[in-house]
């Protein structure tokens, strides 16, 4: 079975048109077809959160979507949050507050949290914990991640 689908999707503001197999996961499409390797693939069954992207602004697991489902939609990956010269306030805060060690989980945290802070610019401790409950960090970094969110939120409100 080799039925190709003409996919047209906007990723980080750029429109891409590609022929893809329907079974291609969105995570693999982003990494392999577009070369956007900032989106990490951990568990591939929706548990770890490393592959989180924003789908029309909402955080979603890119390993639990087929690329074809993104046809006509907007996807934001970690590459779309900030640039090396001008980091997103969250990236800045993660850097300063030691919000990462190995960095594998970080893109998923950043895409999740960027959407979260748009919706909730002044979150409570409890709300931050709930917001990151779908992302696994195994370098034992949650405390610092939480602090990073607080710092970023403060700056973004200012």
């Amino acid at each position: 079975m080799n039925n190709l689908f003409n996919l047209s999707v906007t990723v980080n503001g750029t429109l891409y048109e590609r022929e893809v197999e329907p079974r291609l996961l969105l995570s693999d499409f982003l990494r392999h077809d577009l070369g956007l390797t900032g989106t990490h693939v951990g568990c591939e069954h929706g548990v770890c959160g490393a592959c989180t992207i924003q789908f029309d602004g909402e955080p979603a697991r890119s390993c639990l979507m087929f690329a074809v489902m993104a046809d006509g939609h907007n996807v934001t990956t970690v590459e779309g949050l900030g640039t090396i010269d001008k980091l997103h306030p969250l990236q800045e805060a993660f850097k300063e507050e030691h919000g990462l060690q190995c960095g594998f989980c970080t893109p998923g945290f950043l895409t999740t949290l960027a959407a979260f802070l748009e919706e909730n610019p002044d979150p409570s401790e409890e709300e931050i914990r709930e917001a990151i409950s779908g992302n696994l960090c195994r370098c034992t970094g949650y405390q610092h991640i939480k602090e990073s969110v607080k710092t970023a939120a403060e700056r973004m409100r200012a």
Partner: protein, 298 residues
């Protein structure tokens, strides 16, 4: 961890989706939010040869009141939308509460009410609360439509009353009446994990403060949402005293459920939890039914 090949259709109307199901029958699977189906396909536990994507059918996503004060939800209503909806919070607060316990924030942006029900996972919160609220589901095929009561929809583990050519299109939940109370409690190792066991309780009081109707439904306690019929029988017509509640909790845990044992918990531990959670849920539900002024001496 990659799904096998399949043919993909993205209809934009229910009619087109039903035509696809009629044509492909057993080989086809409707794709709703994909938060259960896609992991199963990644693991190759599910290998449908045709996927009919429902995500481009706007007519399947709505939440609105019905004529009797209850609510109607389109099958493609996403968990996050349902959780933030004011009508849901007002008319069926048990559903509002249930949403918080579903998956992770990223799952809730994609997962859908109808998808969860059709998946018929015995540990699913929405299946359990739909039975507890005596909801009903509209199933459509090219041949017509039928309503199925929630407690008749779930047949076994991951098995529902849906025929291969049928699609669950709408959920109808009656309003939780005045003088009624509800509770949903569950135990999970970590918040967002599948619950080891949980229970939804809905109770109604008559003018004398006696229990007119009680319904307790368990998740992760059998091969489908498990309704504690014998326990409810002990409560009906009675003043909800601590003794009666304890007796009902004992009955539910010992006679009404059929929990299995696995690496997460033994059957015995699940029964123990069922007893404790039933007691807590009933106390909370009766307290709410009494408007928070009642004292059932927990």
């Amino acid at each position: 961890m990659k799904p096998p090949p399949f043919e993909y259709y993205a209809p934009t109307t229910v009619e087109e989706a039903l035509a696809g199901l009629a044509e492909h029958g057993y080989d086809a699977k409707p794709l709703a939010g994909g938060q259960s189906l896609i992991p199963m396909m990644n693991f190759r536990l599910a290998q449908p040869s045709v996927l009919i994507d429902l995500n481009n059918i706007p007519e399947l996503a709505y939440i609105r009141p019905d004529e009797n004060g209850g609510v109607l939800l389109g099958a493609m209503s996403r968990h996050k939308t349902v959780g933030n909806d004011a009508l849901i919070a007002a008319k069926v607060p048990l559903v509002h509460e249930a949403i918080k316990n579903i998956g992770t924030p990223q799952i809730r942006t994609r997962g859908t009410f109808g998808g969860s029900l059709s998946h018929a996972d015995p540990s699913a919160e929405l299946a359990t609360v739909s039975v507890a609220l005596n909801g009903r589901f509209k199933l459509r095929s090219q041949k017509g439509e039928r309503w199925v009561q929630a407690n008749e929809f779930f047949i076994g583990s991951f098995t529902s009353a849906l025929e291969p050519e049928e699609l669950l299109v709408e959920i109808n939940l009656p309003c939780q009446p005045e003088h009624s109370g509800w509770s949903l409690v569950e135990v999970a190792r970590r918040h967002n994990d599948f619950a080891l066991i949980g229970v939804a309780a809905v109770v109604e009081l008559d003018g004398n403060g006696n229990c007119e109707r009680a319904r307790m439904v368990f998740l992760s306690a059998g091969d489908r949402p498990m309704e504690a019929v014998q326990a409810a029988g002990l409560l009906n017509g009675q003043k909800p005293t601590a003794d009666i509640i304890q007796a009902a909790a004992d009955k539910a845990a010992s006679a009404d459920i059929d929990p299995g044992g696995d690496i997460h918990a033994t059957a015995e531990f699940r029964r123990h939890l069922a007893k404790v959670l039933s007691r807590r849920a009933l106390h909370e539900a009766f307290k709410r039914a009494l408007g928070g002024i009642g004292n059932t001496n927990e």
